[in-house]
């Protein structure tokens, strides 16, 4: 039965990056996406490409993330070349602020463990004096920070737009309002159904975040993901004052200032609450007291896709070869490797060896 080479279920940051990468590698790809009101973790992403401290204690994840960081400039360049869209990628380096010596010591430990694991990333600890040299307006409560020139930030929404546009302009088929309710494997192909409509392909990737959990068992995969709520608060546009990416505040290319994010277990509740917004604002004023007069124009939340250990899943189904699962909560940081490595690999029906340890059977080990 003829059909596509690859079906990608889920048009978020993960699915769109994979779809584009596979298409560029020459595969005939269909990207199936939901409608206007969907969980869309991409919309809640703070926009950091955050490498310092990533994967400490889990070398494969550290190295995978650092690889992603190194490939980001290539991704950004290719996207602007393909679409003309400036996705707001900037690599000014990132600061993680500390409000106590204990916090600072924790960062020192992270630096040490990163080096011990052979992480190829420069991270330095800045004391208050060094920090105020970079940020004269710094609040009194900040005692220092860890800084890495590798950290960057981007507009997650422009990134998603650019990936989808690049995909379509490269000849990929994008179907929106196509919420897949079942997958039927048959011999050498898979058919994804949305009501009466269907799409068939030789291989299929489930990258639909929280929506994938119920589809996974249909192709012999396991994606035990749970929602974790993150709230973000954003101000009106401001003239540029903060060039660095930071763990709690960043200024977008348009000038708006994002304050984030929270980590909450609220099931599938995408609401916002004042207490959390207040906490985010409190942190912001501790770092930059003079941010107090800025107007907050919106607060929103979305649901991160969390596996039991917070690490990604990259896996091929053993019962149904050709069916793959990909999920992570760092859809922005990993967008580069998803587009430039995972996508092309899946077009050829494989996954790269760097991700071989990210299978879901590790969760069974934990459970037993």
């Amino acid at each position: 039965m003829s059909g596509h080479d690859l079906i990608v279920i889920g048009g978020g940051l993960v699915g769109s990056a994979i779809a584009w990468g596979a298409r560029k590698a020459g595969a005939d790809v269909a990207l199936l996406d939901e409608g206007d009101i969907a969980f869309r973790a991409a919309r809640g992403n703070f926009g950091l490409i955050w490498l310092q401290g990533k994967g400490v204690g889990v070398p494969p994840y550290m190295h995978w993330s650092l690889r992603a960081g190194k490939m980001w400039p290539t991704l950004a360049a290719k996207l602007v070349e393909a679409t003309g869209i400036d996705i707001g990628w900037r690599q000014p380096g990132g600061l993680q602020f500390c409000f106590s010596e204990a916090d600072l010591n924790k960062r020192r430990e992270i630096v040490a463990r990163t080096q011990a694991d052979g992480g190829d990333i420069a991270i330095e600890i800045l004391d208050r004096q060094a920090l105020t040299g970079l940020l004269p307006e710094l609040g009194d409560e900040v005692v220092g920070a860890s800084f890495s020139p590798a950290d960057a930030h981007v507009s997650p929404l422009y990134l998603l737009r650019a990936l989808q546009q690049a995909f379509q302009e490269a000849g990929g088929l994008y179907r929106s309002s196509f919420s897949v309710d079942r997958i039927v494997p048959s011999g050498d192909s898979f058919t994804a159904f949305s009501g009466e409509r269907s799409v068939t392909g030789k291989r299929i990737v489930l990258s639909a975040g929280l929506g994938a959990a119920r589809l996974a068992p249909q192709v012999g995969l396991s994606m035990p993901v749970k929602p974790e709520r993150g709230q973000i608060v954003v101000t009106e546009r401001m003239k540029p004052f903060l060039p660095y990416a930071t763990n709690c505040i960043r200024q977008s290319v348009e000038g708006t200032v994002l304050l984030g994010s929270s980590h909450e277990e609220r099931g599938f509740d995408e609401g916002t609450d004042v207490a959390t917004a207040a906490t985010l604002c409190k942190t912001a004023t501790r770092v930059f007291p003079r941010l107090a007069d800025a107007n907050v124009v919106r607060a929103w939340s979305s649901l991160r896709v969390m596996t039991p250990d917070g690490l990604p899943v990259y896996e091929e189904s053993s019962d149904y070869p050709g069916a793959f699962a990909v999920t992570c909560h760092s859809g922005v940081t990993l967008a580069s490797v998803h587009a430039l490595e995972i996508g092309p690999a899946l077009a050829a029906g494989t996954l790269p060896s760097e991700v071989s340890s990210f299978t879901s059977d590790r969760f069974n080990v934990q459970a037993s």
């Binding site: 101000t235 009106e236 546009r237 401001m238 004052f241 003079r290 800025a294 107007n295």
Partner: protein, 100 residues
Amino acid sequence: MFKRVDAASVREDEEHVLTFEGRAISFRPGDSVAAALLAAGIADLRDSAVDGKPRAPFCMMGICFECLVQVDGKQNQQACLTQAKPGMTVRRQQGARVFG
């Protein structure tokens, strides 16, 4: 480009004066800052934070957020929702808010 319809019966007094970009503007009790500026023939109140073009009050009821001005040092105040007060210092909002 506005005139007071009851100019004959209502006098302006010396007390109700604010400044706009350093210029003294008379107003009446009950005027919003936007009304006071329109009455004084001020054409535009700010430059857009997006394309830098001049903007002026549009809806006069707090919905459009076009009438943003600086009032007594506070940036991005909606002039149509701010009561004009004697001695107020009002300035144009030149594009996006300046940090601090």
